[in-house]
């Protein structure tokens, strides 16, 4: 264990040094670098940064475990979190890029020409991102805590300091390139163990092709033991909850401010489309691997750990029992540990499997560094978003429009440091289960923003009254449903994590009805929306479309 701690610590420190170095060499000197990396990030690298930004501690640490526990029903997460990129790239990203602002609240404020809408969306952005960042910080705390057998709280503090340093130093420009590095580290750390496990179990190094057979064998073992089969549909939840959760995650993905802002960092609408495609490919590498991770892990537990005499269990079991994530008890007293006597916590699957499969110290350390990369990259993106909502939308656009560049950069940095500290303090004692909080953040993002952004870029008649009413009603509906569902009152079996399927249609209806009952927005605002139909080279002006062919400018 001594040696293992040393190797893991070494790998984590090496990656931290890399991130800080990248942030230092790409540090932001102007506001546009700080918020949108001067809009010069190539689509391929932006796609990779989106991958790092997007895949959080929940994806890296939690997803395989969720799939292992829920079987087919857990796959709602896979389809929901990837399908959101269709909505985002097809319906929102290119238009939002052409509109050319710094943040989501700034788009909403300028599109609807309303400071009330700006303030509401800035506050909603801060709430959503803040909820999410708490999850990341407690995630990194758990990783560090478990590795070094220190309380998770110290781990959280270490994570907080690292994130605050490089996010405030580099701004969006630094964060973009650290996210690229973090993506590479986390994806290698995720795939290496399953390639080894695939070799170990099936003799074939390509887990994506081999795990189908493993799933079938697990199904056979389940039948033998008299459990519901691993891949049977809706054994852990029901169809309506599956669909509601998948819908909520998709719409939430498309409306998360920290993801949308990454599309502002590229040059054109075309680059936004390519960013979306590259992003989902890079994300797909991990998401396509997660079911394999879950299957191999379950297979190894069922065949190599279950059925062993209780007094001859491998040494890793004690370590994980100590963390409270693993429970084993010989309840029927036959001296043999049966499969039904093992309770595996979702969050230990990814972290523990390399140990269980005996993949060696380096791989175990690599997985720890990968988990940290996943938590830090998402936290970095979230902090930039919180900082820009405060320093740009609230401080600069609403409070002090004459602030100098330097003042605004400092306000942004102060906002990052302050929100990191506050989030860190809350993360020391998390208010609930991390995956559940993350799912609420998706419900809130989708329920508050998706209809307003969608109608904002596609429907020129949409006005500020509709936007304000839609956001407020959407936010209220999401919160109400979450609390009702937690209290046991559900509609069609939809639980709190599926609140988006209720809130999004309500928000849409509110936007449309209120807009139609109130006057149309000013002509120039409507023209701006029509202009979003065409690429940058075409401009919509006074009811006519003009092609900029480089000849004389039209006055």
């Amino acid at each position: 264990m001594e040696m293992q701690t040393f190797v893991s610590l070494g790998l984590i420190l090496a990656t931290f040094a890399l991130y800080i170095a990248i942030a230092y060499f790409n540090r932001a000197k102007q506001t546009s670098e700080f918020y949108v990396a001067s809009r010069g990030i190539p689509a391929f690298w932006n796609g990779m940064a989106i991958g790092g930004d997007w895949m959080s501690a929940a994806s890296f640490i939690g997803m395989a475990g969720t799939l292992m526990a829920l079987g087919y029903d857990g796959l709602a997460y896979i389809m929901g979190w990837t399908g959101g990129y269709l909505l985002l790239t097809f319906l929102l990203a290119p238009q939002l890029r052409k509109y050319g602002r710094f943040t989501v609240p700034e788009f909403i404020g300028d599109r609807f020409d309303s400071n009330t809408a700006r303030l509401i969306s800035a506050i909603a952005t801060i709430i959503i991102s803040f909820t999410y960042v708490i999850g990341q910080l407690s995630g990194s705390g758990v990783v560090i805590g478990r590795l070094f057998s220190i309380p998770a709280a110290y781990g959280t503090i270490i994570g907080v300091v690292i994130i605050a340093v490089y996010a405030s130093l580099g701004g969006m420009k630094g964060v973009t390139w650290t996210q690229v590095a973090q993506y590479l580290i986390l994806i290698i750390a995720y795939i290496v163990p399953i390639v080894f496990m695939s070799l170990q179990i099936t003799g074939n190094p390509l887990p994506w092709l081999t795990y189908g057979n493993v799933v079938n064998e697990i199904g056979a073992l389940d039948r033998e033991l008299g459990f519901t089969e691993y891949f049977a549909p809706f054994s852990e939840s029901d169809r309506s909850q599956f669909i509601a959760l998948m819908f909520t995650l998709m719409v939430g993905t498309a409306a998360l401010p920290h993801v949308i802002v990454r599309f502002y960092t590229v040059t054109t609408m075309k680059a936004a489309r390519w960013s979306g495609a590259w992003a989902l490919m890079f994300i797909g590498f991990l998401y396509l691997s997660a079911p394999a991770y879950a299957a191999f892990s379950r297979f190894i537990l069922m065949t190599e750990v279950a059925g062993q005499p209780i007094d001859q269990l491998p040494s890793w079991t004690t370590n994980w029992v100590d963390t409270g994530l693993l429970e084993i008890a010989d309840t029927n007293g036959d001296g043999i540990l049966d499969w039904s006597e093992i309770a595996v916590g979702n969050d230990m699957v990814v972290m523990a499997t390399p140990e269980i499969a005996n993949l060696g110290m380096f791989v175990i350390g690599l997985v720890a560094a990968g988990a940290m990369a996943a938590a830090l990259s998402t936290a970095g993106g979230l902090l930039i978003t919180i900082s820009s909502s405060f320093a740009h939308d609230i401080y600069y656009r609403l409070m002090n429009p004459t602030a100098t560049d330097k003042k605004r950069l400092n306000a942004g940095r102060i906002a990052i440091v302050a929100s990191t500290i506050v989030a860190g303090i809350i993360a020391l004692d998390p208010p609930g289960v991390i995956t559940q909080i993350v799912a609420w953040a998706f419900g809130l993002a989708g329920g508050t923003f998706f209809p307003v952004l969608f109608l904002g870029v596609w429907w020129k008649r949409m006005n500020k009254q509709g936007a304000i009413a839609g956001m407020l009603v959407g936010l209220a509906t999401t919160l109400t449903y979450i609390f009702l569902a937690l209290g046991g009152i559900t509609f069609l079996g939809i639980q709190d994590t599926g609140a988006g399927i209720i809130a999004v249609p309500v928000n849409f209806l509110t936007c449309i009805i209120v807009t139609l009952l109130t006057p149309a927005p000013a002509q120039h605002l409507q023209d701006d929306v029509v202009d979003l139909r065409y690429p940058e080279q075409m401009t919509y002006k006074n009811g006519e479309v003009w092609m900029n062919d480089g000849t004389e400018e039209d006055k």
Partner: protein
């Protein structure tokens, strides 16, 4: 500056919107469509796995990725057909964004 006929401009927008609608519909079928009839699809197998499980764990994600690349490639073709020069886009976009 050259004026673009309303018909041409509308056709550009319509082509893009139609593509998006078709892609979203395909995306909807492979995810929500299969989930809705999961029990029915579970009688088929693909690559040794029951079809509803395969689609949810890999098939849908692969289709999503292909749709996004198809959208990016086809959109570039449409742009080319309408005489859009991407270098111009980059230049204009740089000047027009609000970088305050």
């Amino acid at each position: 500056m050259k004026k673009v006929e309303k018909k041409v401009a509308d056709a550009y927008f319509k082509t893009r919107t139609t593509m998006i609608a078709i892609f979203l519909f395909i995306g909807f079928l492979v995810s929500f469509g299969i989930v809705f009839f999961a029990e029915f699809f579970s009688q088929f197998t693909f690559l040794g796995v029951q079809f509803h499980y395969y689609m949810a764990s890999q098939g849908a994600v692969i289709v999503f990725i292909l749709l996004l690349f198809l959208n990016a490639i086809l959109n570039d073709r449409v742009d080319k057909k309408y005489g859009i020069d991407n270098d111009e886009n980059v230049r204009i976009s740089g000047g027009k964004t609000v970088d305050h």
